[in-house]
Structure formats: structure tokens, C-alpha cells
């Protein structure tokens, strides 16, 4: 277990180390929150400012959404931590099935 290795047997040392670790993680999470707000603003601006063709805007805002969701998953939901192999398997299997479904449903109305 990853968390057991953190215990040196000296509670004071562990506490110091863990406080520093969680402060560091909090910093990453705040940075990802700022980035997520920023990406949201760009996406809304890309739609609010007229003059872009939808051939540019649609793929662009979808890309922004995907990047934002990656931040959410890896920093807010801790998928960047150790011990998330099974969660990754579950989630990406879901994404794969979901992507095929979306592909099928949106191509069936084109042809």
C-alpha cells in the first residue's frame, strides 16, 4: 500500500512530510482550477465573438472541453495518484464504448 510506506514510525516526521505533500497538491489543484476557468472563458468567448466559422469553433470548443475534463479527472479526482490503474481501466472502457455510440449516432444521420 502506497500510504503505509509514508509512515516512518516517527509521527512528527510523517506529519511534516504529509502537510507539505498536501499543500503541494492543493497548489496544483488551484492552478488547474484557474486553467479550467480560463478554458471556459475562451470557449464562451469563441462563441460570443461572431466571425469564426462553425468549422473552426466546434472542434475548437470540443478540444477545450476535453482538456478541461482531463484536468478535472487527474487533479480534482486524483487520477494522477498511484493506485488508479483499475479506475483508469473502468473509465477509459466507458469512454471507448461511449465514443463508438456517439460516432454511430452522429454518422447515421449524415448518411
Amino acid at each position: 500500500m502506497a500510504n503505509q510506506q509514508l509512515n516512518s514510525g516517527n509521527p512528527r516526521v510523517d506529519i511534516e512530510y504529509r502537510r507539505r505533500k498536501s499543500a503541494e497538491e492543493m497548489r496544483y489543484q488551484l492552478v488547474s482550477f484557474a486553467l479550467m476557468i480560463f478554458l471556459t472563458l475562451i470557449a464562451f468567448a469563441a462563441v460570443a465573438i461572431e466571425g469564426f466559422t462553425s468549422w473552426f469553433t466546434v472542434p475548437f470548443i470540443i478540444l477545450l472541453a476535453v482538456v478541461q475534463v482531463i484536468f478535472q479527472l487527474y487533479y480534482f479526482m486524483h487520477m494522477s495518484h498511484k493506485g488508479h490503474e483499475a479506475p483508469s481501466l473502468f473509465l477509459y472502457s466507458g469512454v471507448l464504448v461511449g465514443a463508438i455510440t456517439i460516432l454511430a449516432f452522429s454518422t447515421i444521420i449524415w448518411w
Binding site: P11, L64, Q72, M77, A99
Partner: protein, 208 residues
């Protein structure tokens, strides 16, 4: 370590969300559920994309006639911020600060409540404009997708309030820490789905 053990700030484990066998199983099971939710929401998105703007007559409002950027923007900011407040709650949970965790959870729920209020206002507005669940295939697909997300928010609020109420006098231990953690995962996942809803439904609806 077992669920009923009393802890202090010094003895609190580094990963309280998976320090017992039960919580390890809970963690795994919940991620499996989130994988399933991904498929569920993806099929609702697929249905929406296939049926977008499929209306029976030219008098029926289309996506670009209905959606308004400011309302969607405020709702997005509320939900995004509530995701951050639940991150703060988990930060305090890991530091064994029960009261601070409860305060941030309360804030999370309030922001979620604000989001839900906006959604109710939005839906009643649409109904007055003739866009209902049964008015068109577009309407059915729209309310199924966005309404299902709103239902998830409502369930999340109920979950959050129940957790806070039930554990208000208990303090933190390895019995309830995983429960709070799993709730925060759920809440973040709601925000993940919303990111795609505001992009695919609202922003792409405005683009045409």
C-alpha cells in the same frame, strides 16, 4: 486499521479513503459505477446529437432561438466553483479537520443548489416558449440529457446533506472518511458531464 478506531491528527492515515478492506472495495466499485455513468451519458449525448433541431413544424423554437449565453455561463461558474470547494473539503478531510471539511461541503451543496435553481428557472422559461419534453424529438432528447444531469445534481445534494446530517456528531473516522471521498468523486463527475453539456448542447447550439 479498522472502521471504529479513534484517531488523532497524528495517527490519521495518509489515505483514509482506502485504508480498510471495505473502503478499498468501495473506491473500486465507485469507479466502476463512474465508468458505467460515462456510457450512460454518452448514449444520451449521442441521442441528442442525432435529434438536435428535429422539430415537427417551422414555428417550433430551435436550439439557437432558445439558449442564452449569460445564463449558461453563470450556471457553469457555479458548478465549476462547487467542484473546487469539494476539493477543499477533501483537503481538510485528509488533514483530519472535521469542522472545516463540513463547512466546505456545505458551501459545495449551496453552490449546487444555486445551479439547480437556475436550471429550474431555465426549463420553465423554455416550456413557456413551447419547447417541452413532448413538443418535438429535439425537446425529448434535450430534456432527457440535461434533465438527467440535473437529476444527478439533485441526487448529489440529497447525498451531501444526508452525509453531513448523519455524521454531524460522529467526527472523522475510517468508517465515514471513504463516504465523504466517494461523494466528492461523484460531485466532480457531475462537473465533468456538465463541461460536455455546456460545450455540446449550449455553445454548439448557439453556433448552429
Amino acid at each position: 486499521m479498522h472502521a471504529d478506531e479513534k484517531f488523532t491528527y497524528e495517527t490519521w492515515p495518509a489515505a483514509p479513503e482506502k485504508s480498510t478492506l471495505e473502503s478499498k472495495n468501495k473506491f473500486l466499485g465507485f469507479w466502476f459505477f463512474l465508468g458505467g455513468e460515462t456510457v450512460l451519458f454518452a448514449s444520451l449525448f449521442a441521442t441528442y446529437l442525432a435529434l438536435k433541431d428535429k422539430v415537427p413544424s417551422s414555428s417550433h423554437p430551435l436550439a439557437k432561438d432558445l439558449f442564452e449565453l449569460p445564463l449558461t455561463f453563470v450556471a457553469t461558474m457555479l458548478l465549476l466553483t462547487s467542484s473546487l470547494t469539494s476539493v477543499y473539503a477533501m483537503y481538510h478531510m485528509k488533514n483530519f479537520a472535521f469542522k472545516k471539511m463540513m463547512v466546505w461541503l456545505g458551501l459545495t451543496a449551496l453552490l449546487g443548489l444555486g445551479f439547480l435553481g437556475l436550471e429550474v428557472y431555465e426549463f420553465t422559461h423554455y416550456v413557456h416558449e413551447g419547447h417541452t419534453f413532448t413538443s418535438s424529438a429535439f425537446g425529448s432528447a434535450f430534456y432527457a440529457l440535461v434533465g438527467f444531469h440535473g437529476g444527478h445534481v439533485a441526487f448529489g445534494l440529497l447525498w451531501c446533506f444526508t452525509l453531513m446530517f448523519r455524521n454531524s456528531k460522529r467526527g472523522l473516522d475510517l468508517y465515514n472518511a471513504p463516504k465523504f471521498y466517494v461523494f466528492s468523486l461523484y460531485w466532480h463527475f457531475i462537473d465533468v458531464v456538465w463541461v460536455f453539456i455546456f460545450t455540446v448542447v449550449y455553445l454548439m447550439g448557439m453556433v448552429g
